[in-house]
């Protein structure tokens, strides 16, 4: 499988970015729901620390992923798409990319507002983005949660679309993002 993208297919690097980020986002939802159920204490502290580290990892990968996207051809959408489907696909993809940045950044902001600085896996302490403020923290917490729901909704739409292409339209759309497959 080629490393770089072609106009017909995602290369191995783009696929790696896609699937690693998928796995990390699922990890984030799991860690966040574990932390939400924990009482104040060491376990919650540890779970949230991991959630923050994974979030910063996603932010870093998102930057690299966009650079890689700009430096590569983008596989084109099939001609069978109706104009509104084309718009919907583009909006969905743009929303997912935007959330790859918005989720970690609102998380980082809310940590700063709560005066709990963020560290990346105990290795690097990140600077605080805003001064501590409880009302700001509350607002950011709500934003982070709302964005998480938007992410779930958009991801569901994205998955359903991919499945429709694969099983109903029987085209290459899903397969070109899957490793170990070849395009027809």
């Amino acid at each position: 499988m080629p490393v770089r993208n072609t106009t017909a297919r995602w290369g191995s690097i783009a696929q790696l970015f896609h699937w690693v980020i998928v796995a990390l986002i699922i990890t984030q939802f799991v860690l966040a729901s574990i932390a939400a159920d924990l009482p104040l204490g060491l376990a919650k502290l540890a779970t949230l620390a991991r959630h923050k580290s994974v979030g910063i990892t996603i932010l870093g990968l998102a930057v690299l992923r966009l650079i890689w996207r700009w430096a590569n051809p983008t596989p084109v959408l099939p001609n069978t798409l109706k104009p509104y489907e084309r718009v919907l696909a583009n909006v969905t993809h743009a929303t997912l990319y935007a959330l790859l940045f918005a989720m970690p950044i609102t998380g980082w902001l809310m940590s700063s507002a709560r005066n709990f600085p963020v560290s990346w896996f105990n290795l690097v302490q990140l600077p605080d983005l805003v001064a501590p403020s409880r009302p700001l923290y509350e607002a950011l917490h709500t934003t982070h949660a709302v964005l998480a729901w938007i992410l779930i909704a958009t991801a569901v739409l994205h998955v359903l679309a991919a499945l429709k292409h694969h099983f109903v339209l029987k085209d290459d759309i899903l397969r070109r993002m899957l490793p170990f497959t070849s395009s027809r």
Binding site: L40, L42, A49, N115, F116, P117, N122, Q125
Partner: protein, 200 residues
């Protein structure tokens, strides 16, 4: 006449001695200060999950007798209201005040008493004494600086210092908080105290 003159001479000598002793005592008498808590800062910082978190104690009382040229007569005694801790997050403050950490219900105060002060250079000293937290007392040497300023005709002292202690030495961390995996043992305490002459 002879006797009279001898008495006069004796009295004069005694008077001179008393006066000179008084003069010496006057220049070297350590000033007695109290801590101006509203204009002092007592901070602590600790590493939690790889990130440095900071907090401060807002309420303290200090009884400080200090003169750089009379260290033998100098003494530092500061009592901190542990419940006045503030890390900028109410939930974390509540956790810190809880039984497993500071246990403020049982141990409302922490205290540092330095009875031996050693000159370490211009305006720099070592304050050797004992720190008590959670009723556990440990020897502690705190490097400090001390300077005086005249503010509105009064002598005001400024004392700063910074020392790293280990929280577990004092039992600040019981149960799960004994672990240093997520909260480091080392805690840095730094202070900048404004000392005002105590009403005597």
């Amino acid at each position: 006449m002879v006797r009279f003159s001898r008495v006069t001479w004796c009295a004069g000598s005694v008077l001179a001695l008393v006066l000179s002793a008084a003069a010496v005592a006057d220049t070297a008498a350590p000033v007695h200060y109290s801590v101006d808590a509203a204009r002092s800062l007592l901070r602590f910082s600790f590493v939690q999950a790889g990130a440095e978190n900071t907090g401060r104690f807002r309420s303290m009382k200090g009884d400080i007798t200090f003169a750089p040229d009379n260290l033998a007569g100098s003494r530092i005694d500061v009592t901190i209201d542990v419940a006045s801790l503030d890390t900028g997050d109410e939930e974390r403050d509540t956790t810190l005040k809880g039984a497993d950490l500071f246990d403020v219900a049982k141990y409302p105060q922490a205290r540092f008493i330095a009875t031996k002060l050693v000159a370490k250079g211009t305006s720099r000293f070592d304050a050797q004494g004992k720190l008590t937290i959670r009723n556990v007392t440990r020897d502690l040497n705190v490097p400090i600086t001390f300077q005086t300023k005249t503010e509105q005709g009064k002598t005001v002292g400024y004392m700063t210092g910074r020392v790293t202690i280990r929280r577990l030495d004092f039992g600040v961390g019981q149960g799960e908080w004994k672990s240093t995996e997520w909260v480091n043992d080392n805690v840095t305490v730094s202070f900048s105290l404004r000392l005002v002459p105590a009403a005597t």
